[in-house]
């Protein structure tokens, strides 16, 4: 049951569109940035997400899927937690 923290880098200007797409992906949580007064868009090209999948293989596959989303340049792993996987 791995959990990964990722930085998704997108084509500038397409952040909102990609965020909307990512939000609908199962196992993917999109994190909101804190709006700083006077600096509404502090980072126009990067999105923070976490992925939560049954297995490590499923996570790798999901990352590949996300890379295929229109407007996504890279999906970079920043943090990974892996625990024993339950066989059913």
């Amino acid at each position: 049951m791995p959990i990964g923290g990722f930085v998704v880098t997108v084509v500038p200007g397409r952040k909102d569109e990609v965020k909307a797409r990512l939000s609908s992906v199962k196992g993917c949580d999109v994190y909101e940035e804190e709006a700083t007064p006077g600096n509404e868009r502090q980072n126009d090209a990067q999105i923070v997400i976490t992925l939560d999948t049954e297995t490590s293989d499923a996570m790798e596959a999901l990352v590949e899927d996300l890379k295929g989303i229109e407007g996504v340049i890279t999906v970079d792993l920043a943090y990974l937690n892996v625990e024993d996987e339950v066989v059913r």
Partner: protein, 799 residues
């Protein structure tokens, strides 16, 4: 609980990612239920061990979101262990059994059927079996986790309806020796005192119990008492294994497995030799007995018997770290402390002479008068939440009828028949098969239909493979009623989905004679049904199939009652008001109305509601505290031992010689194997294995090997090890630890994986008195197979 472990990891992951790109995240808690958000709290008892912690289930919009302890409860004082905090996750768990499942043959796949079809099949199979092969060709095997109402109605239908005493339950595997011990030593089953003694105790004698892991909330009370009074309170732990319980012990007696009887006799020797006997207590309340015929003997004869157990002789038998001086010191502490409490569980009960071991603990208390006074008690801990209330008191074993009535006593059996309004002679006078005999009868083809409720014998019986073969026979129809798939549903013909805790109403009776009510809070998932409904509907069909109005009569008082509350209430009323009246576990005062008012519950005897509302009897046999002690008083003495099993109304000190285990190590199988529990798991892990927080903490079982043995055998931490007995084998990873003594290995028994189900290795020899198997000791050989290998946790996840 504000944040689950996985949520916490997710946030850590997100925040780490954010720090890479210099973003601040706004993390919100929306759509997440917190304990403090619950809009309704429903009171009940914990579903798991025998401590009887009171809990409240928190609901938000009708969905279970949390469990919390009840502060005013005298059992747990508001505290819960992790298991108790988390079992709400099982209420709507996706793995739950939700439809009746049937297959004619065990090599076929199951198919979903309706309740009508399922109950018709169950009735027809049991009726056919009775007609063709006789009444004793059917059996019920129940559980110390079933509600009292459930055990009571099951056994009523089996005994008075199907006319068989083949009524057993898994408490035979854990508590039967304690029952035998209490009956033969004190004349009445169940402890005299209770948890309230802990805070007044000065010397804890914990033997054969890893209380810290098996009864964590109770252990907290013991630990608190010790830590608050480090000099005044002594803790003695006697166990071949160093466990977390040993950590608070002043003295840890590490004796060779199976030498407990010698140790306990030797303590008695010292108590007599050093003049530590409470002579007045003995004179007023005790006699000495020996043998099967229970012959009364003199104190001198008892003393002579102990000559074989001088500390010098006993220390040699016990081995380990035991020295004569240690035995003397422990005996002195036990006898001289202002109040001594013994606590034990499976290490004593699961022995070839478990009843004797219980007797010998009671002997020490009787000899020193460490009974009936505040802080002193001989307290057997139960492992299941309703082994006492349901099975011991409700008539859930083959030889006892409700309210502690032995089947074989005509007068008491007829009493039950009269109270049930069934003809005399309806309940057979001969006890049915005890557990090991019952599954042997399945093996032998004598039992053609068995109903297994709320327990998994395929995993929990000793020498498990042997009995699995019987249950796999095509000529034995197996009904299993349970909430999750288990090793036992895998051998079933008919699987019936039942309601879980808080999905039905009923009473659990914990270790200290305390009955506590759990109220229904949510509906069961799918078509799952409470057992009381299942049995009632089944009995009505049985009556038709066998054209026997007496079977219908068994459930007639419960007809038309709503199953969530009214039905269990009617059953409880019949049991308490009729069956416990005039018995030592008089529960007439503990009505549902009273139980609903109490934050915890009622300790019997509690003959009236007025008395029950004060909590009931804290100390049995003490005049002024126990209403029955006043009622049955035969003289002016403060203690009255009115128990039904001793006509002389006295406590019996027993001559019980030392007897080793059924299977001691030899040159082929040179190591002792013992088994036990880990704090996060319970029994066969069918429940705790489905709670991620618990399963992830201990995803699989392992074997503990003493470093000395590991060195001899070339075993390193994590190595895969083969454990083999004359019966079966396991392959487990090794933990090299100063836990078990040298020459002994220890394995946890929760794991469902076939390589790690340790009961395939354990031995099914049993105590001739209590019929409880000696799970705790057998001989094995061990061998390193390979270096560490990845291990995947395993649960039976489909039927």
């Amino acid at each position: 609980m504000a944040l689950t472990r996985r949520q916490f990891i997710k946030r850590t992951a997100a925040l780490t990612a954010a720090s890479f790109c210099g973003v601040n995240l706004t993390i919100k808690n929306e759509n997440r239920a917190h304990a403090f958000d619950a809009d309704k709290w429903v009171r009940g008892s914990c579903r798991l061990c025998g401590v009887g912690c009171r809990v409240e289930l928190g609901l938000k919009n009708g969905k279970p979101v949390a469990l919390r302890g009840v502060k005013d409860s005298r059992t747990n004082l508001g505290y819960l262990c992790m298991k108790g905090m988390l079992f709400y996750k099982l209420i709507h768990h996706p793995d739950r059994l939700t439809r009746p499942l049937y297959r004619k043959r065990k090599d076929q796949p199951f198919k979903e059927i309706s309740w009508d079809e399922a109950l018709d099949i169950a009735a027809k199979v049991f009726a056919d079996s009775v007609r063709k092969y006789g009444n004793n060709s059917v059996a019920y095997y129940g559980s110390g986790q079933a509600l009292t109402e459930e055990t009571y109605i099951f056994q009523k239908v089996m005994r008075a309806g199907l006319q068989t005493n083949n009524v057993e339950g898994n408490p035979r595997l854990c508590m039967a020796s304690a029952v035998g011990g209490y009956l033969t030593s004190f004349g009445a089953d169940e402890p005299i005192g209770g948890y309230a003694d802990i805070e007044k105790c000065h010397c804890f004698f914990i033997i054969g119990s890893n209380t810290a892991e098996a009864h964590p909330v109770l252990f907290r009370r013991i630990m608190r008492r010790k830590l608050d009074n480090p000099d005044k309170v002594k803790v003695i732990n006697a166990d071949p294994r160093v466990s977390p319980t040993s950590r608070i012990a002043d003295i840890h007696i590490q004796f060779k497995p199976g030498t407990d009887l010698a140790l306990l006799n030797s303590m008695a020797y010292v108590i007599i030799e050093e003049g530590l006997v409470d002579k007045d207590f003995i004179k007023n309340y005790a006699t000495f007995r020996k043998g099967k015929k229970k012959v009364e003997v003199s104190f001198d004869e008892y003393k002579r018997h102990l000559d074989a157990y001088s500390p010098e002789k006993a220390a040699k038998i016990c081995g380990g770290n035991v020295t004569p001086e240690m035995i003397r010191e422990v005996a002195r502490l036990f006898a001289k402390s202002p109040a001594t409490m013994s606590l034990w569980t499976m290490g004593i009960n699961q022995r070839i002479r478990g009843v004797w071991a219980n007797n010998l603990i009671h002997n020490l208390h009787i000899l020193t008068g460490q009974l009936c006074k505040p802080g002193a008690d001989s307290l057997s801990l139960t492992g299941q939440p309703n082994a006492c209330g349901g099975v011991r008191e409700g008539g859930g074993l083959c030889h006892i009828l409700p309210a502690h009535r032995p089947v074989k006593i005509d007068k008491l059996r007829h009493q039950v028949e009269d109270l049930w309004g069934v003809p005399r002679g309806r309940i057979p006078p001969k006890p049915g098969y005890h557990t090991v005999a019952m599954f042997q009868a399945v093996n032998d083809g004598k039992i053609k239909a068995i109903w297994i409720n709320c327990t998994s014998p395929v995993q929990s019986l000793p020498n498990a493979d042997k009995y699995k073969k019987g249950l796999e026979r095509e000529d034995c129809f197996v009904v299993v009623s349970d909430i999750f798939p288990t090793r036992t549903t895998q051998v079933a013909n008919l699987v019936l989905p039942t309601a879980f805790h808080f999905e039905k109403t009923g009473v659990y009776g914990c270790t200290e004679r305390r009955s506590q009510l759990t109220l229904k809070a949510v509906d069961p998932p799918g078509d799952a049904k409470p057992e009381v409904w299942i049995v009632r509907e089944w009995a009505l069909r049985l009556a038709k199939e066998l054209n026997d109005p007496v079977i219908k009569k068994c459930v007639e008082p419960f007809m038309g009652k709503e199953e969530g509350f009214e039905l269990p209430k009617a059953i409880w009323d019949e049991y308490t008001q009729k069956l416990t009246k005039g018995r030592d576990n008089d529960l007439r005062g503990a009505t549902y109305e009273v139980l609903m008012k109490m934050p915890d519950g009622v300790q019997w005897p509690a003959p009236t509601e007025e008395f029950a509302l004060k909590g009931g009897t804290v100390k049995k046999f003490v005049r002024g505290l126990d209403p029955l002690a006043d009622e049955h008083a035969k003289d002016d003495l403060p203690f009255q031992f009115y128990g039904p099993a001793h006509k002389d109304k006295r406590l019996w000190v027993w001559i019980r010689p030392y007897k080793g285990p059924a299977e001691a190590p030899d040159s082929n199988y040179p190591y002792y194997l013992s088994t036990g529990r880990i704090i996060d798991h319970w029994h066969t892990a069918s429940m705790t294995g489905r709670i991620p927080e618990l399963m992830n903490a201990n995803p699989y079982a392992w074997v503990e090997v003493n470093p000395k043995d590991a060195n001899t055998l070339g075993i390193r931490p994590g190595d895969m090890v083969l454990i083999e007995s004359r019966r079966g084998r396991n392959i487990l990873p090794a933990k090299v630890v100063e836990g078990p003594m040298a020459g002994m290995v220890f394995v946890y028994w929760y794991d469902q994986h076939e390589d790690r189900m340790i009961n395939r290795v354990t031995k099914d020899a049993f105590d001739p008195g209590s019929k409880e198997p000696e799970f705790k000791i057998c001989a094995v050989r061990i061998k390193r197979l390979s270096g560490p290998k990845p291990i995947k946790p395993f649960l039976v996840n489909s039927v």
